[in-house]
Symmetry: C2
Subunit: 327 residues, 2 copies
DNA sequence: CATAAGTAATTGTCCAGGACAAATGGTTGA
DNA sequence: TCAACCATTTGTCCTGGACAATTACTTATG
């Protein structure tokens, strides 16, 4: 349609919506109310955002997701926003400092684009630590560090892609090596539509597989209705969703409530990932797994509750009730 | 937000957007133009859709995704819409009869949701045939059949997801097993933004790896600008893109021209996949690889043209000129 | 002094209805 | 058979108003 004249990438309003998680309506109303962002217009009178604007919007969104308010943030410069981010990250930074175990080195490899070295390092770490602690102590924190670095603008998009691809390869081949035990629960795994982050899902699959559960992964981005169909077709005991920070929290909450309502009552809904939505306001009837470490316990609990000797199929054992706050 | 009165489940416009994949704007404009759906209004004057309306919308959307047009569909009843779905399936049976090589059987496994059986069958086929012919004779045609079946509505979205996930696992572990030879050309692989089809990309990666080329995959959906950055950072000799049928042809053509203009002249641009755009109107300066089978030849040609003894770095050898129609 | 209740400001989503470009379908001429 | 043209269809974007849900602040009360 239009050949871009040069290296200044511009964004349409829908591109910005996709990149920031802020709805078109919100973007327009901010412009009206706060005077930011003030995009240019193309020949057709449609909004055209610059990369800087998008970056600032992303920084603002990140802080909003942590509970701060738009009105107070919009006036700040990108630097001031980053400061606030870092202040809020204080805890995360601590964790980063604690990671003396070569994690920082791995991030450096990403920045230096040493793909092979990174892959080798990760494989080696996995062999040394075993899959379980590799995921818990290496993959999960590394994901967090890479995600933070990307948020901070420390990493280019393609560098994050490189990392994701390498880590995905390492995790997938590891998971493929876990012997299928075919035990219950049967777990259908996926992410919500527009949620592209596959690594959280893969790690969850790995954890479940190590517990001997039967995993059926649908990959990323399954429409709610198809999750329901898949759960029925696979006679799933559990539907497990991974929801990343990047995903709009309120959309997640709504979609989860919707999904819960459509799933058969006998199927449980487990939600993992770093998204603040489900963590702050748990959806009724969904079990929130804050960390990968919670997975073995959840599986054990499920098995205890569904032990063939004690409970008949269909009614949840009392011990589980605590974890399912009905609306 | 709103507690549902159990008897008649009603849907807000955002719930319908989630469930059907039709945007709020589209829902409103259909109402204005076609008089369907005509939702009720709540106390606040906001649209309230019934479950029947949502179901019909979903049926319509499914047919639209297969290429039918809204205007022709909206007048039909739910039963008539279902008929059309089934009518399209009739052809599917024919096509199924053609595949004698066990491929039809694989598709049946997908429809029956026998994930484990499918995985086992694919792995076995790969061991028997070897990676090369597995990809050419099994994976590639199977992809086509699954894609066709999905287009026809023969497969649900989640069934296509299941297939993709299983095949991806099989291919990835196979590719991981190819010893890295580290030879030239260095190839950066990815897909364009909004192009989610990962299987074509993986198969291309496998083919390249078997030729001993150095593959750096960015995964799917890399923005054009980041492809350029990645190519520079990796000192790529070739950028290889996979563009599926599902991808809008003209968008592909534009994006490719854009990419070609931004890439350094020394880097070649190779385009594969089943998309008709590049095949019909080749982008200047891009080499179109119609089939996976073309890959070994392309690599061989590149090596011949860049043989260290004959040509200095930077200028393409004459034998290559034929494949690069400059604008 | 703390807590509850009420008021004010903030903020996201929805609405109407106009406009327009991209995509599609059909027609004509080479 | 193919290319070029015109008409129609269709999704997205626009403006600017409205309102309910949330959050922050103030005041009355134990």
């Amino acid at each position: 349609m239009l050949a871009k004249p040069l290296a200044a990438p511009l964004f349409s309003i829908s591109a910005v919506e996709r990149d920031t998680g802020l709805s078109k309506d919100t973007l327009r109303v901010w412009e009206r109310r706060y005077g930011f962002p003030l995009p240019g217009r193309d020949a057709n009178g449609e909004r055209v955002y610059t990369a800087e604007q998008v970056e600032k919007l992303r920084a603002i969104k990140k802080l909003i997701d942590r509970g701060q308010r738009p009105g107070k943030l919009i006036g700040l410069s990108l630097e001031e926003l980053r400061e606030r981010s870092l202040a809020a990250d204080a805890i995360a930074v601590d964790a980063g400092a604690a990671g003396e175990s070569g994690l920082a080195e791995a991030v450096e490899l990403v920045k230096a684009h040493h793909v092979d070295a990174l892959r080798q390092m990760l494989r080696q770490a996995m062999v040394q630590q075993g899959l379980a602690s590799f995921m818990l102590e290496t993959a999960a924190p590394l994901n967090g560090m890479v995600g933070d670095a990307w948020m901070r603008g420390d990493l280019e998009v393609f560098e994050e892609h490189l990392y994701t691809e390498v880590m995905q390869g390492v995790l997938r081949s590891a998971i493929a090596g876990i012997p299928a035990q075919g035990r219950t629960p049967r777990i259908v795994l996926t992410t919500l539509p527009n949620e592209q982050h596959a690594l959280g899902l893969l790690m969850a699959e790995g954890m479940f597989a190590m517990e001997g559960a039967t995993c059926i992964s649908l990959g990323t981005q399954t429409p709610v209705w198809d999750i329901v169909l898949a759960a029925a077709a696979q006679r799933a005991d559990v539907v497990a969703l991974s929801v990343s920070v990047a995903f709009p929290a309120n959309v997640a909450t709504d979609a989860l409530a919707d999904l819960r309502a459509k799933l058969p009552a006998a199927a449980e809904l487990w939600v993992g990932g770093s998204n603040p939505g489900p963590q702050r306001r748990p959806v009724g009837g969904a079990l929130v797994l804050r960390k990968l470490e919670d997975i073995p316990g959840a599986v054990a609990r499920w098995r205890q509750a569904h032990a063939p000797s004690t409970a008949a199929a269909g009614d949840a054992a009392p011990s589980l009730r605590r974890f399912r706050a009905r609306i």
